[in-house]
Symmetry: C2
Subunit: 520 residues, 2 copies
């Protein structure tokens, strides 16, 4: 060393690795924290690999506009004022419409790393802007898309974890909700929810079977071989009380009721009483038979931890049942207590989702809800199952759609569907089922025209790319894989966006502030 040249200034405070820096100093976190820095490198590598794989598969990356327009479907959009009076762009929540147009344009294998925007109440791990790996295939159906995405994900997990994944299991939405109490089942552990309706039903007089259990489901989780007095049961019941109404009496309003037991001879009668409490229509004789049957099936065994539950059958409500939430909490306690190890990489496809969902009275989400009381479970472009087209119009809530989600370790990584490619069917679903008013229907005119122009059948999917990278590096937060994430208030603390604008800035757009700031 013969010469030192100063090329810049250094800060007064020394920079120390792994200090927790203020989010305003995001650059110091990135500079000093190996995990934060590595996340950006990983993200770059994963996106490159995806492009490489998709290109090899014959896909074309197409950039679609971000200055789009406000449409009646979907969640809340950000608006972008223009100088053209009262005309505004909207930022897209997804490139859905444009990518369908690409199918009618002859780009039969399309993908894009698409920037998407959602102006919604921010939950803990949501961002107002996010990235989707968006893709669509023409002359293809959902299973073509699923096979492709499976190849892609296997390749990614192989390259970054050295793991060769087997075929992804496919579960229907109904199976997932019944067996795991969730449409995003974590399949790294078993703990399946057992439907005991069949058992109960088998002891009912035939006529009663027809109507008794049309509205309620009886479910059970049974964990064998609990050790006594290791505190597990108390921890679990405490935790479960935080989640739901464990052990509470069911009233008319309560959709779900749960009771937990360690089953043994001493608690046998308590279990029987609870079963009777939630199924008061069963005679003492039938109760005895059901109990015996549950014992024979080894669902009631000495020192088993048993959860008993009754819930309304509401398969369209989506998300998870309370029993599903219990299952997850249970797993985490069992892991903590050494009964279970939660690890591995479990992908699954969830299919055959209900096409529509009931609009709840307190549903204030704009867009998807309709005057008919239904909303699209995902979006109104999803095709019904081929044999559910009639049902779609006669009993919308019973119709199943060609939607599919890809789930990893209990987290939804993305979803897609086979789309409607028939202009008349598309129009009828918007107009008749969703009752979109004529004034809004014309916003879809380009879509009807495009479908009528001879559009091939097509299907696609979007992967939450932030989520994908986070999962890949074993992180629960997408913030860990975003260079400059926004906080829960939608604020980028580093540059301090969004910022206060002045009334004069709004002038060119012909808009005024409702409450202008006191001083400009």
């Amino acid at each position: 060393l013969s010469n030192i040249k100063l090329i810049g200034n250094s800060p007064a405070e020394p920079i120390i690795p792994d200090t927790v820096y203020d989010p305003k100093q995001r650059y110091l976190t990135l500079r000093t924290n190996q995990k934060a820095f590595g996340a950006l490198k990983l993200r770059s590598e994963v996106s490159f690999l995806c492009r490489q794989v998709l290109r090899d598969e014959g896909f074309t990356e197409v950039e679609t506009p971000l200055l789009f327009k406000s449409t009646p479907e979907g969640a809340r959009e950000f608006l972008v004022p223009t100088r053209n009076q009262n005309m505004m762009y909207a930022l897209p929540q997804s490139p859905q419409q444009y990518k369908q147009v690409l199918m009618a344009s002859g780009i039969l294998k399309y993908y894009q790393f698409a920037k998407c925007f959602r102006d919604e109440a921010l939950r803990s791990d949501r961002q107002p802007e996010f990235t989707q790996l968006d893709l669509e295939m023409g002359f293809a159906n959902g299973s073509d898309v699923q096979r492709l995405v499976e190849r892609l994900l296997k390749r990614i997990w192989w390259e970054f974890h050295g793991i060769e994944l087997g075929p992804f299991p496919v579960l229907t939405y109904r199976t997932a909700m019944n067996e795991y109490g969730s449409d995003k089942p974590d399949m790294r552990y078993d703990l399946k929810i057992i439907d005991i309706n069949d058992i109960i039903d088998s002891y009912l007089p035939p006529l009663q079977r027809e109507y008794v259990h049309r509205f309620y489901k009886y479910e059970l989780i049974s964990v064998p071989n609990m050790k006594m007095h290791d505190g597990t049961f108390n921890t679990i019941t405490k935790k479960l009380k935080e989640i739901g109404n464990l052990g509470e009496k069911m009233t008319g309003d309560q959709r779900e009721i749960y009771r937990a037991h360690i089953y043994n001879q001493a608690t046998r009668s308590r279990f029987r009483d609870n079963l009777k409490a939630i199924a008061p229509h069963l005679s003492e004789e039938i109760l005895d038979k059901v109990m015996e049957d549950l014992v024979n099936r080894k669902l009631l065994r000495i020192n088993s931890l048993v959860f008993l539950a009754k819930r309304k059958r509401e398969s369209n409500s989506g998300g998870s049942t309370l029993m599903g939430d219990f299952r997850k909490a249970l797993a985490s306690v069992l892991e903590q207590k050494g009964y279970l190890t939660i690890k591995g990489h479990k992908f699954a496809w969830i299919t055959r989702f209900p096409l529509f969902t009931k609009v709840e009275p307190d549903d204030t989400e704009p867009g998807q809800s309709s005057r008919n009381g239904y909303k699209s479970t995902h979006h109104p472009f999803t095709a019904p199952l081929n044999d559910h087209v009639t049902t779609t119009f006669l009993h919308p809530l019973r119709a199943l759609g060609q939607h599919y989600d890809i789930v990893y370790n209990g987290v939804e990584l993305g979803g897609g569907s086979t789309r409607i490619h028939d202009a008349l069917l598309q129009r009828a679903i918007l107009e008749e089922v969703l009752d979109v008013p004529a004034s809004k229907l014309k916003d879809f005119q380009h879509l009807f025209d495009m479908l009528a122009s001879g559009c091939p059948p097509h299907a696609g999917l979007a992967l939450g790319f932030d989520r994908l990278v986070a999962m890949l590096m074993g992180s629960n937060s997408i913030r860990d894989v975003i260079a400059f994430p926004k906080n829960n208030n939608g604020v980028d603390p580093m540059v301090d966006s969004p910022s206060l604008v002045t009334p004069s800035q709004l002038e060119p757009y012909g808009i005024l502030m409702e409450n202008p700031p006191a001083v400009e």
Copy 2:
């Protein structure tokens, strides 16, 4: 063929290749027009190749936020209202600030295919949203960036044209303006502009040389071996009259004056008269000497087409001189008449741009202009030449900056600079030279903090990716390479965006329409 299954409807009208479809039916154009379709394929392939090359060079692709904030520099931004009263995001015109922050974050080789937005009066070939291949390098300077970009462009031209390009010539801004009359010189043909000031000066008394030509430049283009009577001269003079004041007498207001001749014995005296007319201070004796010298230098030859010009020296005015515009028009006529072939692939770097430009009285562009009467020629983060730091503050208009443009066949493909990496210098330029008011200066606080945290010297560049692909396929319009381009009014005719919004849509944002539509 044993079975035909109908999988969709076809339109009533037959679809015929190469029909010119309405922009509303963009999908039919893409489906039937090989060039339009091929452009999207090419674009996808070029972006993939760029990523491949940059990854091999050790670059990391980082996505930076699109929901940014309004800042005082730059052209017009689009605003995005939020539910947080009077707080708005702005869509970025470039990721400039974020990418500089990445330099302080240790991502020393950054790139991104960045979506950029500009809310400006749309000129014929501008789009409100466009894509830049944006990159930045830490512990690097402009020539590192130039060498990298040169490797990248050579690779692209090799892959897509099979052409091995030689080293790109480097011209200073001054040379480009003097020799080609443009900061985007088309170097596929020679037709250089000859500066004849030195010739004239050499015959002036020494004292006069000091002041006579401080404000004006005398220039000449000479094209030898014109055929007589083939109409070229008339076509040229006609075309040139459309562009500028050819042959007009100079008045006080006119910056530039031009005269064109076919030089021969008969027109010799006319040429001499014209020279005298634009340089009336020259004595008859000096005029004779200059004429003789021009002849000896073969600038005046029998049957040469000669342009004579006088213009104000205004090197900072950028863009092109009238003589530069003439040169381009001249080349196109000469090509048309068979004197010249314009083809090939000529890249060039243009360097040493003036750091600041005078604000013209009619300059209504917001942002960059300052109360001091200067604006940044490019942006306020460009570093002055190392030996121009003092000049920057004493004579801002004389200071040259470390900016560079990459030009291809007379079109600017992109530009970049070595950035200021010293917090104090950055602050002083904004505060003292550009006279940014304190209230706006605080919007740059994160930048000052970041630079003060020990930020390495860095330089970068952004390539207009739409333009690059258009040039690569020999198209003059970026619309040809955009899947869903907007028209001159910023309208996407296919989906009809932007669209009319209702006052109620604006409610959550606390903004009102100045002139609400009559009926909602």
